[in-house]
């Protein structure tokens, strides 16, 4: 359970990134935080693992204020995968990289071995176990970064822009993977610009603009709502755009993905024939 209570945050350079954000995330929820650049998405999630402390207000994870525990301690519960894997890779082998956090948390060597094996096979990286992470491609490095966080099995997983630099196939794998994590009972929070990705994942969407939450709700109701989407400066999924444009035909406009569209169109055909 993550409780964000009326949080304000101002960066040292005077930019107010969050102005009065309140939010409750229950265990096992799947959340997507969306909004334009500078809306405060990353600032908000950095509060959840204590990297940033609110200037005003409070953030509590499982009832404990983030002000009272260190980032390292909080990380045990909250796994945070950063946008750019190159900001964290430094070990000689992928194995060491994945084991880094486990060593920091003081796991026993035997357990570390087991966990690393598990995390590597989870992300299809087993054959790179002894390879240098710097030799891998961009997508693979991203997966190593992900494995290095999932290895300690945190209850809450935060992914900052997970789809950047991934081709369609990797994205699809990532989507299945995230959904799988969520069905295993983990709280998953993704920060992203990728509407198509969100439309396919169907999480609970939080729209942010100028440091405030402008709307939250199911992916379908938020991303197909023309006013909300404009307010948060988001371009809706292409399928939804088509149905906006076809509003003259008296077709429903809350169409979020291809399956939805297919259903709507088939229904229409049936009626007319």
């Amino acid at each position: 359970m993550i409780a964000v209570k009326d949080v304000y945050f101002t960066y040292p350079n005077g930019v107010e990134a969050l102005s009065g954000v309140s939010l409750a995330i229950r265990d096992g929820e799947f959340i997507a935080i969306m909004g334009q650049n500078g809306a405060g998405k990353t600032t908000l999630v950095k509060h959840i693992n204590g990297l940033l402390k609110p200037t005003k207000g409070e953030v509590a994870v499982d009832g404990v204020s983030t002000r009272k525990v260190s980032v390292a301690k909080l990380s045990r519960k909250v796994g945070f995968v950063f946008q750019n894997p190159d900001h964290q890779l430094f070990c000689e082998t992928v194995e060491d990289e994945v084991a880094f956090a486990l060593r920091n948390f003081g796991f026993k060597e035997q357990l570390i071995k087991k966990r690393v094996t598990w995390a590597l096979s989870l992300l299809n990286l087993t054959r790179y176990r002894q390879t240098s992470p710097f030799m891998l491609s961009g997508g693979e490095r991203k997966r190593v970064a992900l494995a290095s966080v999932l290895a300690w099995n945190p209850d809450i997983v935060i992914l900052d822009e997970p789809t950047i630099g991934q081709d369609y196939q990797q994205k699809e794998k990532l989507r299945q993977f995230i959904v799988q994590l969520n069905t295993q009972g983990k709280t998953v929070i993704i920060v992203t610009h990728d509407v198509e990705f969100v439309a396919e994942c169907n999480p609970h969407v939080i729209l942010m603009a100028q440091g405030k939450i402008v709307a939250e709700g199911g992916a379908k109701e938020t991303l197909t709502n023309r006013d909300l989407v404009t307010q948060a400066f988001i371009v809706p999924p292409q399928v939804s755009q088509i149905f906006f444009e076809l509003s003259d035909l008296k077709l429903p406009t809350n169409v979020i993905d291809v399956y939805d569209a297919r259903k709507v169109l088939l229904d229409r055909l049936e009626v007319s024939s």
């Binding site: 980032v71 045990r76 964290q88 890779l89 880094f100 920091n104």
Partner: protein, 275 residues
């Protein structure tokens, strides 16, 4: 990061900011040379105060104080090293006396004067001006460019270092944990990604520049050209006068510069008399 903040240029305008960087650098060099020439406290105190008007005219007091505060740690180290080593490890050990104290303070102040003048220079000189000054001093353009790029990328690197620190903290790294050696080791996970990404960035920058025809013309011209104005001549004159005076004192009156402890001595006498 507080030490670096004391050297970061901020775009404000003052008579000092308008000065020609070459002349300003000459002034800094003069301060540097004089600070090295004397090891007595009195001239170094003078040197410290001579620079204050510049700081106030430029209006960079706050940043300047921050740079001094950043140098505090090193200043204390220098003081302690001088004090302890002069006592134990020299051929003519000075007993811990007021004069040893004065010598150690002088050495510390010398360091502070150096920091003071360099921070003044960097606080009031934009990297662009600096690059121009180098170019007009006939330094090859490649070097000038490398220099200005390096200066310009400092804030970018600082920001990146912060992100990397966050990323590693999120994986349970505790920078402040352990003894001294462990603490140094804690920084490896931060330094390696930082260096790797700096190298990668520089390669990308080189490619981007070459694809925009960098170095295509042999003889480059500049939109802005530095010209030496009246203020610059004034500063150059002041610097030369200070230098001449300092050299004069150094050559003819070096031995007569009084120790401040000598001024204090009568006081001490009266104290002992009373007791």
């Amino acid at each position: 990061m507080s030490v670096f903040d004391g050297f970061k240029f901020r775009r404000v305008y003052s008579p000092i900011h308008q000065l020609d960087p070459r002349v300003k650098f000459f002034y800094v060099l003069v301060m540097f040379v004089i600070a090295i020439m004397f090891n007595q406290l009195l001239p170094l105190i003078l040197l410290f105060f001579i620079q204050l008007p510049f700081v106030f005219v430029a209006g960079v007091q706050r940043e300047w104080v921050r740079s001094l505060r950043g140098a505090l740690f090193f200043a204390i180290m220098i003081f302690l090293f001088n004090f302890v080593f002069q006592y134990f490890w020299t051929e003519y050990p000075l007993p811990p006396s007021p004069s040893l104290l004065e010598y150690s303070i002088a050495m510390t102040l010398r360091f502070i004067v150096l920091i003071e003048s360099f921070s003044m220079f960097f606080l009031t000189t934009s990297p662009d001006h600096l690059g121009l000054a180098l170019e007009q001093s006939h330094v090859p353009y490649e070097f000038c460019f490398a220099f200005t790029t390096a200066v310009r990328f400092v804030p970018v690197l600082a920001e990146e270092a912060q992100t990397i620190m966050d990323a590693q903290k999120a994986r349970g790294l505790e920078l402040e944990r352990g003894n001294f050696i462990k603490k140094v080791k804690n920084y490896i996970p931060i330094l390696i990604p930082l260096i790797v990404s700096a190298i990668r960035r520089s390669l990308e920058l080189a490619e981007a520049m070459e694809s925009r025809a960098w170095g295509a013309t042999e003889k480059r011209t500049n939109l802005y050209v530095l010209r030496v104005k009246r203020g610059d001549y004034l500063l150059a004159l002041i610097s030369v006068l200070i230098l001449i005076f300092a050299v004069y004192v150094w050559i003819f009156h070096r031995e007569q510069i009084p120790l401040l402890t000598n001024f204090l001595a009568p006081l001490e006498l009266t104290v002992t008399k009373i007791s």
